[in-house]
Each structure stands twice: as structure tokens, then as C-alpha cells.
Symmetry: C2
Subunit: 360 residues, 2 copies
């Protein structure tokens, strides 16, 4: 039925659609809905404690026995850099003054801990069928533990170089994350944002470079994009932004409202929220401090300084200081449940594929 | 045979492939080869005098009676800005010193005149079947003359806004130029490069927004990309970089050699060569002066200061000061004649489309 079954067979799923793990935006309910639909539900753990992750996975396992993807970041934690922090903090003093906030009230950034022994223990205990990583792969010792469990391992490549590296280091499939994608870019062998290739160019070049199945990501939000991904040689897709508008998404009403009127040219890559480039809708702080600021402290520490400003703005109904993660195709998304969305995406893709065959 | 015949019927061609007009890189020979293959050959006139354009079109008409696309830029010429020119010139003094050149020897930029009455007279005289524009459309009076001849009119959109504008102002088809595309971006309602959407995101959003056929461009260099474009709802493709490696291309040996080893992440948008953003391979002048310099004088005047430096570098076998236009998928291109290339692209696309239909 699907033109390429490699990803379906590898992951034990029925529909070649992976729900992108989006930290802070989805929880167990989304994973359950997508896995029950036949796609691959994902639980983003980057912002969770091991205890919280255990609880979420427990909920998921109660509601579905279908394959689950558990996702972790695997960055290196930076050394503190007080001088840089101070410069960065001063950039936000005018906003504190404007909003009547004490500049010293800013909180530490949300704890984005990289995949570690504690999380690896959790993986061993709960044995998710799929473990995906962002920002490369964890150290060989930890990766070896995951691989020995039989979990299928995925990670994202933003260039052909990164795809080769991931395939060489044991990934069972590689997500080719094009420039269009929302949220954090998975880049780990380069920090140059400007040369990053778009999905249309990246996917076939990655397909030619590696032997494992390629999952296309970036700018895909409807059946046409899924059909196009197969045309380019991908064996499946990872979709993020379209799921942000699903009813199970836990994003704020402000974020949801901004996505509902998003334009094709309404996003940029910005490092102002975390220190790493991530695509989101353009708002005031992105315009005025970013989009890519050389002053931003290293990931994940940049965001702390903005916490109080963001809270005050959101309390006043403004999303001008909130990270409004979005890819470039938000306007193609439709609200509804994640289960309905996944099934509609798959049905539309199959219908689209059926219209493409040459008629003789 | 093709899943969408709208572009074929509109332009009177057999294969839904438009050879991108690339000023300075192709002449009559390329247009003849592509039109004879069944695609749409294009003659870029942006760097030609009316006299030279007349001669080239004469050669084309001698060798083929198939449809021809004649392409023009339609920017506004900027007022001279000596202060900015002086600052810009000073940026290149170190290179002049390094290469032993007199900084005052720099030449004016190549004359890129916008579409004007003289060129419009030529169009009336020679009646090309298709006239395409870059940077929007010419003033209504000139556009009206072209439309009254019955020429089909095309132009490039880099956003949904631009696509709507072009469709509303009389374009018979709109080229959706994604971020991946090489050479000058056609942007004309915005000058913001960072939010420009990639092909995968742009094409379906443009298809949804306008009623005329959409031609996909950017990152498409083989049959997979063409099949993907149809999946996204396009009625055809415009391909540039792949034709730069064809035997009829008039690019330098240095440019050809650089393209032959191009990487997926080896290009950026840069304004250092002309003052407008254009995608090319990263070389020394792009790295050191650009990629996007706020000092660059307005298009098309920025390049003059570099002429002597470029000539001296090229004479010494270096392309570090040459514009090496390229999209993000150069590595997918294969050398050969433009006729063979066009036929192979079409055959590969049809074969690819045939593999995508769901098998029940």
C-alpha cells in the first residue's frame, strides 16, 4: 500500500508518520493518540525529570501497547560564563523597566539535562521500542546500553555530513531535518545556520549518502508533503507543527492563536530563547534581540533571563516574549484530535500518491 | 502521462521542465537544446543589450521552432550613493593590496538594465511564446504591451504574498522559488531573507493561494525532485543548477569545477556580488565580506568594485572572488548535454512517479 515499507517494518508501525517529540508541547495523551492511530507517538523527555518521564510512560503503556518513541537531547552542558550572562542580562533591562519588573528577579533557564545514566536506567526499565535523540547521539557507553536493549535508535541530521555520522554510529534510521522545520535544529557537527539545506534538497542527498531508511522532516504538514517525501526517497516523515494544533497539544492559548494565523514567511531561526537556533514565529523579542544574537549564552542557559518578562507579558495576554515554535508550513495544519489528524494525513497521502502514477 | 497537464497546455511544451534563465551562464545553444528536448528553453536577457538579445533570439529561431522563454529583470535602478560606494570600496582595499592592484582601477558593475521600452520593442518584434520576469513585473504600460502580444507571462514568487500579487497582476503561471534555489532570489515585496520559506513549505501554500499553475523551483535537480514537485501540487518545475553543469553552459572552468564538488551545505544567500541576495557557493569574499553585508550598495551596483580583484584572482586560477551561483542540490547534477539532461530528468521523474502509486 505504501511505496516504501522499510520504516514501517523497522519500527513495527502501520503508518509512516512519526509525531515529532516537542519538549514542553506534548505529553502522554498525544503519544497515545498517535500510536493508537498507527503512527509512532513520541514522548519528549528533554524537559522532564526521570520521575516525571516514568509517570508519563506509565500512562502511555496503560493506554496503548503499540510502539512508543522516547526522545532525549544529548547536548553537552556548558561551563558557567558569568561575564556573558551579565551582558545578555543587560539586553533585557529595558523590558524589565517597561514591564515594571526587578531585573534581578529573573529565574534560571528550564533544566534541559542531556541524556544521562539516570535516564538510561529508565530506558532499561521501561524498554521503549524506539529511542530518538536530538543534537547527535549520547556517549558510546550510554548508546551501547540503549542498543543492547534492542531499542531502535533514531536521530536528526541537518546535513549530509551529519547523516553519515549518525548512520556510522549506529542509528537505525536518520531523520533528515530540513531548514523549514520548527523548533530546535538538530545540528551537532556545525553551528552555521545560513548554509543549512531545505528539505527538498536535503532528503535526496541524504538518501544517496546512507544505507538506513531516511525520515523526512521540515515543511511537511499535509498529505501532499508526505507524498513528496516518498518521491524524494524518504521511507516516512516526522511531523511537528501540525500536531501543535491538535487538541492533545499542551501549548498555551497564545501559542495556539499565533499558529492559527501563521504565514509562510512568518518564522525565523532564533537563538534568543535557549542559546541554540530554533525556528519559531517572529515576535518582538526575536525582532529586537535576535533573530541570531552573538550575545546569547550557550544552550540551554539563554532563556532564564526572559522568564519573568515572559510571565508578565503572557499574564497581560501578550506572546511577544514567548517562544512560539513553528515550522514554515503551519498554515497547512487543521485542528482536530491527533488520532484523526494522523489518519487524515495518511489517507490524504495515499490518495495523493494514487493520483501521481503516469496514465498510459 | 504527466499527472498535471496545465503547464504543458499553457506553454505548448511536451515536458514540464523550464530551464531557469541564468544571466551570464547560458546563451542560445542552451535554449535550443532544452526547447528541442521538449522542455522550455530560456534566454536570460538581464546582461544583454537589445542588439545582442536580438542576435541570440535569431540563432534560436533558426534552430528550433518550439516555444521559447525570454527572461528580463524588472528592478528599479537606484540613485547613485557615493558615500555608500566609498565605504564599500574601502572594504576591498586589503584585497587590492594583497593582489598588487590599484584600488582606483575597479570597473563599473555589469549593466543590468531593467526591462524597458527598447526591450519591449524587441519582444513585439520577435514575439517569444513566453516572457518571464524576475523581481516582480514591469510597469503596467510595458506589461500591457507584452500581454497584448499573447505572450504567456511568468514571474517568481518567494512568498505566498508575492504569488498572490503576481497572479493578481496578470501572470499566467507563477514560479514558487524556494529558499534552496541558486542565483538571485526573485523577492520583490520583501527584503527579509531569513524568513524565506523552503520549497517543501512554499509550494503547497502557493498552490492553495492562487488559481494559476505553479512551477516549483529550488533544490530540484533530478527525477525525484520533479516527482516531489507534482506531489506538492506544482504543474511543473524550473531547474537551474543542474543546467550549469550541462555542456552548453557558458560558465567558467573554475565555476564548473567548484560545482562538481559542491556540498549540500556549501552555499549561502549573499549580497556581496550585486547588492541583492543570491545563493552561491561559499568562497573567501562571501566568508570575509558577507554573506549579507549591510554595506553593500543597492543592486546592481555592488559588484563593480570587485571586478579587477576577481579578474586577477581568476587569472591566477582562484575562484575566491567570483560569484559561484548554485542551489543546494548541485551534487545531484550530472554532466552531459542539455538535451540529454532534460530527457533524462523527464524519464526519471515519470519512472519515479510510477513507483509511488499505492499497490493494493
Amino acid at each position: 500500500m505504501w511505496p516504501d515499507r522499510r520504516l514501517l517494518d523497522l519500527l513495527g508501525i502501520e503508518l509512516p508518520i512519526i509525531q515529532a517529540p516537542m519538549a514542553g508541547a506534548t505529553d502522554a495523551a498525544m503519544s497515545v493518540a498517535v500510536s493508537e492511530s498507527g503512527g509512532l507517538g513520541s514522548l519528549p523527555c528533554a524537559l522532564l525529570t526521570a520521575e516525571r518521564a516514568r509517570a508519563e510512560i506509565g500512562v502511555i503503556r496503560q493506554h496503548t501497547n503499540r510502539p512508543l518513541n522516547v526522545n532525549f537531547f544529548c547536548h553537552s552542558m556548558p561551563d558557567p560564563d558569568p561575564a556573558r550572562e551579565k551582558i545578555w542580562r543587560s539586553r533585557f533591562d529595558p523590558y524589565c523597566a517597561e514591564l515594571g519588573l526587578d531585573p534581578s528577579s529573573t529565574a534560571p533557564a528550564p533544566g534541559r539535562a542531556p541524556f544521562n545514566d539516570e535516564m538510561c536506567d529508565l530506558v532499561e526499565e521501561l524498554a521503549p521500542e524506539v529511542v530518538s535523540f536530538h543534537f547527535g547521539l549520547p556517549e558510546p557507553r550510554l548508546l551501547g546500553r540503549v542498543k543492547r536493549l534492542g531499542c531502535k535508535v533514531l536521530s536528526s541530521a541537518t546535513t549530509v555530513d551529519e547523516a553519515r555520522w549518525l548512520a556510522d554510529h549506529g542509528c537505525d534510521a536518520v531523520i533528515a531535518q530540513g531548514y523549514e522545520a520548527g523548533g530546535h535544529r538538530g545540528m551537532f557537527l556545525t553551528d552555521a545556520v545560513d548554509p543549512q539545506p531545505g528539505t527538498m534538497a536535503l532528503v535526496p542527498q541524504v538518501v544517496d549518502a546512507i544505507g538506513v531508511p531516511v525520515v523526512a522532516a521540515g515543511g511537511i504538514a499535509d498529505g501532499r508533503g508526505i507524498a513528496a517525501a516518498f518521491a524524494l526517497g524518504a521511507a516516512g516523515v516526522q511531523i511537528g507543527t501540525a500536531y501543535l494544533l491538535a487538541s492533545e497539544s499542551t501549548i498555551s492559548g497564545l501559542h495556539r492563536a499565533a499558529l492559527a494565523t501563521a504565514r509562510d514567511d512568518g518564522t525565523v531561526q532564533t537563538n534568543v530563547f535557549t542559546g541554540r537556533p530554533a525556528r519559531g514565529l517572529i515576535n518582538r523579542v526575536v525582532r529586537e534581540i535576535g533573530p541570531m544574537s552573538p550575545d546569547a549564552p550557550a544552550f540551554p542557559t539563554a532563556g532564564g533571563v526572559m522568564a519573568a518578562i515572559r510571565a508578565a507579558a503572557e499574564a497581560a495576554g501578550s506572546s511577544e516574549f514567548s517562544p512560539l515554535w513553528s515550522g514554515q508550513a503551519a498554515s497547512l495544519s487543521r485542528p482536530g484530535s491527533a488520532l484523526e489528524l494522523t489518519r487524515a494525513l495518511a489517507a490524504d497521502a495515499l490518495e495523493r500518491l494514487g493520483t501521481l502514477a503516469p496514465r498510459h
